[in-house]
């Protein structure tokens, strides 16, 4: 973050927190913009203020809606409501939620404020980080926690939790058809030119629909990179719920196992062998995942993975950004297509 931009954000947040906390003045320190993603912007900071009993300070995370990004449309109120509902109706590890600010005057776009979590986020391009994975036993323990947390997500009762505002439905065939339609439209809006393999894939998915019949809350982007390990080594937060919907829960399993998140490892999200991942999931949820269903969602996952890459190139082409990472997504999408033809059995 440029110094001038950081100063402006710090100043805006200091005034905003002072109003929210009902105090005269606050000091904002440790302000850091986390630049890992391409969509939502996350800032962490420490806020210090004076109360009757003396000085107090607390750590917060601010999640700001993007002006533009790879996965539109963005709806901060839905994100906030989902987070709030999951805190009330599940044991999914999530940060505490404090405030929603819909006025764009403060940070240029709406944002919400959560508890700042302490820990580390394992990411797919550092799957051998010795601080996170000192040995295989530790990797396995994280993997087991990863499955248990996914089971918690899938055990949420969407009706009891009041998740009617999420897209999708519990009829998994209908939901799968709607997902294909949605991502076909997304592809249409994003591509620079036709990508014949993706056009083939859309038709193939429609002809070979295979779902589990187990409809429920789907995280939509559950994988290495989207959870944090706390100081005790356990998952203490699951992030990035912007693609959450109601649909076939097997999508989350297939997505976590995508080659995209395996690096050079054969392990699901670089954590567990696939058979063990599915066996443990079955023990926790009672769902036996059939191979054809897993394959259907894996193939669908390639459409889901490739389309935002195309959108990156489109955003760059349209001059909406000069972020070169987005221009690089065009050729990166070719690797996803290579994984697709391997999954189809067309390539060794």
């Amino acid at each position: 973050m440029k110094a001038a931009a950081a100063d402006a954000v710090r100043e805006s947040l200091a005034s905003w927190f002072a109003r929210r906390l009902g105090v005269g003045q606050v000091e904002v320190t440790d302000l850091r913009r986390h630049a890992e993603g391409f969509s939502w912007q996350t800032y962490t900071l420490t806020v210090t203020w004076q109360e009757a009993g003396g000085w107090r300070s607390a750590g917060y995370a601010v999640r700001r809606q993007p002006e533009d990004g790879l996965l539109p449309p963005y709806d901060i109120e839905t994100q906030y409501r989902l987070h709030e509902a999951l805190l009330a109706h599940s044991r999914i590890p999530l940060p505490r939620l404090y405030w929603l600010e819909t006025d764009p005057a403060v940070l240029g776009m709406p944002f919400y404020v959560m508890e700042r979590m302490e820990g580390v986020v394992p990411v797919q391009w550092r799957g051998n980080d010795p601080d996170i994975f000192p040995d295989e036993a530790r990797r396995r323990a994280i993997g087991e926690d990863f499955v248990s947390t996914l089971a918690l997500i899938h055990q949420v009762d969407p009706v009891a939790a009041g998740l009617h505002f999420l897209p999708g439905e519990t009829d998994t065939d209908a939901s799968a058809r709607a997902q294909i339609d949605h991502w076909e439209s997304f592809y249409e809006e994003s591509r620079l030119m036709e990508v014949p393999l993706l056009r083939f894939l859309i038709g193939f998915l429609r002809r070979h629909l295979a779902t589990s019949g187990r409809g429920g809350l789907v995280h939509g982007d559950y994988r290495i990179g989207n959870f944090m390990l706390g100081p005790d080594g356990k998952i203490n937060a699951v992030f990035d719920w912007e693609l959450a919907h109601i649909g076939d829960v097997v999508f989350d399993l297939a997505w976590a196992a995508m080659p995209l998140f395996r690096g050079r490892s054969p392990l699901v999200s670089q954590l567990l062998p696939r058979d063990e991942f599915l066996r443990r999931y079955r023990e926790l949820t009672g769902l036996e995942v059939h191979e054809e269903v897993f394959r259907f969602w894996t193939l669908f996952g390639h459409l889901r993975a490739a389309a935002p890459h195309l959108r990156g190139s489109r955003a760059f082409e349209d001059g909406r950004t000069n972020d070169l990472r987005l221009a690089a997504m065009g050729h990166q999408s070719l690797y996803i297509l290579r994984q697709l033809v391997t999954e189809l059995g067309w390539r060794g």
């Binding site: 440029k2 391009w125 591509r191 620079l192 030119m193 036709e194 990508v195 014949p196 393999l197 056009r199 083939f200 894939l201 859309i202 038709g203 193939f204 998915l205 429609r206 002809r207 070979h208 995209l260 890459h309 195309l310 190139s313 760059f316 082409e317 001059g319 000069n322 972020d323 070169l324 221009a327 065009g330 050729h331 990166q332 999408s333 070719l334 690797y335 996803i336 297509l337 290579r338 994984q339 033809v341 067309w346 390539r347």
Partner: protein, 129 residues
């Protein structure tokens, strides 16, 4: 010229590369030699932009590949346009349409694969490599 396949147009790439170097990199450089190198890179990009285009032989290869596959599948290939990008677009559309039902004839399937393999052979880098 528009983007080609999954790639951005060269005009936009050169503009964007120069803009990113000027706005996101240069302000953070204090070493005079490093600044001069970035300044020169911006100048080279601006002047390359008026002199290069995407490789014509690659589009000609696509025309041949897709044309043969369509003929083998009993389909009519599109007309070649004097505009390179337009020809590229037409042949990708034709291949996509031939494959869109999700159960293409073998020649179309082989063309899909050969087109991808050709693109992959040109890659030198990439985070998923």
């Amino acid at each position: 010229m528009a983007g080609v396949g999954v790639h951005n147009s060269l005009e936009r790439l050169f503009d964007g590369l120069a803009a990113s170097l000027r706005e996101a990199v240069l302000p953070h450089l204090t070493d005079p030699y490093a600044r001069s190198q970035v300044g020169a890179a911006i100048e080279i990009l601006a002047n390359l932009a008026t002199r290069v285009e995407w490789r014509r032989d690659l589009v000609e290869g696509l025309v041949e590949l897709v044309g043969e596959a369509l003929a083998a599948a009993g389909l009519e290939p599109p007309a070649v346009s004097p505009d390179l990008a337009e020809t590229h677009r037409r042949f990708l559309v034709a291949l996509a349409q031939a494959a869109a039902n999700g159960d293409p004839d073998e020649p179309i399937k082989q063309a899909l694969l050969a087109h991808l393999e050709g693109e992959l052979r040109l890659l030198r880098t990439g985070m998923y490599r």
